[in-house]
């Protein structure tokens, strides 16, 4: 297995920058390609050679398809990118349909990205250890955006919540795939959570042992790459690899309606006297997520939160005695987005786990907007008055085959009311609800002697903007900057 070329990989992909509490995502449009390319050459893009220290500042960059075209990448190379990326997140009716972007989530209503808003060309990702150093980063690289040939379309700020929580009050960022060959990660996959590097980085073998398609430059076209920036493609002799060490970045800004979520839960959890049963609230919400607010997985701790298990990720479903969802419901958010050993063929088998490995993503999202109420307990959130402020999750994830990874998760699992033998349940947390003959909006809690379920779930999450980007390897960024 090839060693990962950390000095050519942008740091966010393997490291996530969890230590840097301040981040901003800047959406840029190229107005003068030549100036932008000069600007690109000045950007100190942080590679993955070392993890940042707590007071570091890091710059990473990604491009949309139209951005790459705008910067002059020739058609022969553009054609080598994946169809999903070329078409974009709103490129076809079909894609909009499978992503569930209908009703209030429809691209017509987005604030940015997609076919109804000005084209986003570049996504600049800035991370810092303090508010000041984040401001300095912006100043260093964007103060003179005009002479960089750039227009700042939108600046998406983030706001870290305490204890790694997201706005509904649940610990987030716990379960992540381990990238094979990275650091101490083994390259074999005995644990079921170590995934071939090629699933997250182009230019390495993927979960099928193949090199995912990507743009390659024929040696015949070498004058395009006069400085020999691009590495040779390991799978095609005589070709240079523009994709190497790069990854597709899926960006979806998801607004969260925290009051709607907890009020719905509270309404379902009233005692006979009409009083809200707080512990029943937390239980129902935890059933929806699949983890307790503190992070403990229900499959490991079905009856109560457990601080000792807050970061626990060492479980399966069938093999951990939870085949039928009596602990973690089948339709829970984490079970849908990573069914572990629940997939055909033969749930619980090695083959089942292998199939699951072809549908993983590397999540790199950040929360934005103020908490509705701190410290984010069920009681606070239920009692807080809705304040009408924008808050949610900048959902970011990396993958190399958008159709088989992100889109598959979103369509075949999250939005699919038929997931794993269900009938009318979509994802209780992020499901879009109300589409055609399959309304969704039901959440079944498998239980003995018989299931309970809640119906008429409203949507709790709403699309605010999104796009597919490509985060190139560092030399590939230099190559793009050197295009003439």
């Amino acid at each position: 297995m090839s060693q990962l070329q950390l000095d050519d990989i942008q740091g966010l992909i393997p490291h996530g920058y969890g230590r840097l509490g301040f981040a901003s995502f800047v959406l840029l449009a190229v107005r003068d390609a030549e100036s932008t390319k000069s600007w690109l050459k000045t950007l100190p893009i942080r590679d993955a050679g070392s993890r940042p220290s707590a007071d570091d500042s890091c710059v990473n960059i990604a491009f949309s398809y139209s951005g790459l075209a705008e910067l002059g990448l020739p058609e022969s190379l553009l054609q080598g990118f994946a169809g999903e990326f070329r078409e974009g997140m709103t490129g076809t009716e079909h894609r909009v349909r499978i992503l569930g972007d209908h009703g209030p989530n429809a691209p017509e209503h987005w604030h940015w990205g997609g076919r109804y808003r000005p084209a986003v060309h570049i996504l600049l990702l800035l991370y810092a250890g303090s508010e000041d150093s984040l401001a300095r980063l912006k100043d260093d690289h964007l103060a003179d955006s005009h002479s960089a040939g750039l227009e700042i379309l939108t600046q998406l700020d983030t706001n870290r919540l305490p204890e790694h929580k997201e706005h509904f009050g649940f610990r987030d960022g716990v379960a992540q795939p381990a990238i094979a060959g990275l650091g101490a990660n083994s390259v074999d996959d005995a644990d079921g959570n170590t995934i071939a590097a090629g699933e997250f980085l182009l230019g390495y073998p993927n979960a099928y042992g193949q090199y995912t398609a990507r743009p390659l430059l024929a040696d015949g076209d070498a004058e395009l790459d006069a400085d020999n920036l691009l590495p040779p493609a390991p799978d095609e002799t005589g070709m240079r690899d523009l994709g190497a060490n790069g990854s597709y970045l899926v960006f979806r800004q998801l607004g969260q309606n925290v009051s709607a979520f907890w009020r719905y839960i509270a309404d379902q959890s009233r005692r006979a006297d009409g009083e809200v049963d707080l512990s029943a609230c937390t239980r129902l919400a935890a059933k929806m997520v699949g983890r307790w607010p503190g992070g403990a997985p229900l499959t490991r701790s079905p009856d109560h939160d457990d601080p000792a298990l807050s970061s626990d990720n060492d479980f399966l479903y069938h093999r951990s005695g939870d085949a039928i969802g009596l602990k973690c419901p089948i339709g829970a958010h984490i079970r849908r987005t990573n069914p572990r050993d629940s997939l055909e063929p033969q749930p619980g088998s090695d083959r089942s786990i292998e199939v699951g490995k072809r549908h993983r993503i590397l999540r790199r999202g950040r929360t934005y907007g103020p908490a509705l109420s701190l410290p984010l307990t069920a009681e606070d959130l239920i009692n807080a008055e809705p304040d009408g402020r924008e808050r949610g999750l900048h959902f970011l994830c990396f993958n190399t085959h958008i159709g088989r990874q992100f889109e598959f998760i979103q369509h075949t699992w999250v939005n699919n009311p038929k997931f794993d033998g269900l009938y009318e349940d979509d994802d209780p947390i992020i499901g879009g609800r109300g589409h055609r003959d399959m309304p969704g909006g039901v959440f079944t809690v498998q239980a003995e002697p018989v299931r309970t379920r809640v119906t008429d779930l409203p949507p709790f999450v709403e699309m605010k903007g999104g796009e597919y980007f490509f985060m190139p390897g560092i030399r590939a960024v230099e190559f793009i900057a050197s295009l003439t």
Partner: protein
């Protein structure tokens, strides 16, 4: 009740009417004026149906293959009765659509009898047919869906406090008993006729006997067969061209509207006697396996297929594959690669341009990149697609049947507890038979590791 059969009608389209027919039918996503002309729902026993236009094409020698129209149905009962019903009940629609075809009776001469005659004459027998589960009729599927929905609504309105599983079971049975629109469910479903079952049994044992008889011949000729196979495989030329982005988009546009999807792929059989015979043999085996081995809801590890068939065209020079399956095409393709590659390789590697196989079972579609590029180059649009239950998956249907079965049984606490779980989720399917499990447990990925 009755068993499930398939009907395929194929006729040439008058060359000057191909485009107008396509426009009149429209597409699945954008129906045209004749889209619903044939009222399949009026027949009451049709599970799935389609109308497919095959454009003019060429065979491998460059000879033209005329444009064709195909009508495909999956239905309850025998073909004869079904043909009669289409000619009668759907006669007007049939006239409207099939009048674009070369051999359809003239307007003035058309009658139910003439239509019937036409359908019989243009019927093409499929070479292999897969039915998810024999014996489940359209009306049973729809009634059992209603039953399950009503039980769920009842439980929503009357939450169970603290009762034992057997008590809950009894409470549900008495709820059903009190509902005159549901009480049919207290009797178990009557399966297919005894005659049909006897025929299946005879077919099963006859096939087995034939296999035993032929086994020595097979073993003796195996080395030669393998040599010839490898000779052919090495000379195969995989088609590495890609379909245009536009044509891929056009296929996607028709997908993911219901919980299931459909696909039709057509291929030219590789030239030469060897490939022709191999195709024939493989399809015979497939048909046999689908009838007697993979007949409990799974086809080679896949449980998402409702119906599938392989049909010859143009004097066996071409073959099309059609299926109705749950979920997205992306998940279907992944299922093929992950679970059923060996079986699909054995059949489809006889098609021109298929990704290179190794000893028939290995390689081929396990090359994810090559396979996902290849498939759209062979896909054909279904212009019209009908499903009697667009909101039910194979798993839903199977689980609903189990729920209904449980109503007529007296249950111990443990049995009742187990049955009640089906009201929470239907992810447990009846196990496949012994031979199917044996076949599915073969680790082809390991066997094939060094084969290329």
């Amino acid at each position: 009740m009755s068993h499930q059969s398939a009907l395929t009608i194929i006729d040439e389209i008058k060359p000057d009417q191909v485009e107008s027919l396509k426009t009149a039918l429209g597409t699945i996503a954008a129906p045209g004026p004749l889209h619903d002309a044939i009222a399949f729902s009026a027949l009451g026993n049709v599970h799935f149906a389609r109308l497919v236009v095959f454009d003019q094409d060429r065979d491998l020698d460059g000879n033209p293959l005329p444009p064709k129209l195909a009508l495909l149905t999956n239905f309850d009962g025998d073909v004869d009765a079904h043909i009669g019903a289409i000619a009668g009940t759907c006669g007007g629609g049939l006239d409207a659509v099939f009048s674009a075809c070369v051999h359809y009776p003239e307007q003035a001469a058309v009658s139910a009898a003439r239509r019937e005659q036409y359908l019989r004459r243009h019927r093409v027998k499929e070479k292999a047919l897969y039915v998810n589960r024999q014996g489940r009729t359209v009306s049973q599927i729809l009634r059992e869906k209603q039953l399950r929905d009503e039980i769920q609504r009842h439980l929503d309105a009357h939450p169970i406090a603290s009762q034992s599983p057997a008590e809950v079971h009894r409470a549900i049975v008495s709820f059903v008993k009190d509902r005159s629109d549901l009480d049919w469910a207290l009797e178990p479903e009557v399966g297919p006729s005894e005659l049909w079952k006897r025929n299946e049994l005879v077919h099963r044992w006859a096939g087995l006997a034939l296999a035993v008889l032929l086994a020595p011949v097979f073993l003796i000729s195996l080395p030669i067969f393998l040599l010839v196979l490898r000779y052919h495989e090495k000379r195969d030329v995989p088609d590495d061209s890609a379909a245009s982005a536009e044509s891929v988009r056009a296929f996607r546009a028709d997908e993911d509207i219901w919980v299931h999807n459909q696909i039709i792929a057509v291929g030219v059989v590789k030239p030469g006697l060897f490939r022709r015979l191999l195709t024939e043999g493989m399809l015979k085996l497939t048909d046999y396996a689908a009838r007697h081995i993979y007949n409990r809801g799974f086809l080679s590890g896949l449980n998402t297929i409702h119906f599938a068939r392989w049909v010859p065209m143009d004097d066996d020079r071409r073959l099309f594959f059609s299926s109705n399956y749950d979920g997205s095409l992306e998940s279907y393709m992944n299922d093929f690669i992950d679970k059923a590659a060996w079986g699909l390789n054995a059949i489809f590697s006889n098609g021109d341009g298929f990704p290179r196989t190794c000893f028939m079972f290995c390689g081929g579609i396990t090359d994810e990149k090559a396979y996902k590029r290849f498939l759209p180059t062979r896909q054909v649009h279904s212009r019209v697609w009908y499903s009697a239950y667009p909101d039910l998956t194979t798993k839903n249907i199977a689980n609903n049947a189990e729920i209904r079965e449980g109503l007529s049984q007296t249950m111990s606490e443990a049995q009742a507890a187990d049955w009640l779980l089906r009201l929470g989720v239907g992810n447990r399917l009846p196990a496949s038979g012994f031979v199917a499990r044996l076949l599915d447990s073969i680790r082809w990925d390991r066997i094939c590791r060094n084969c290329s």
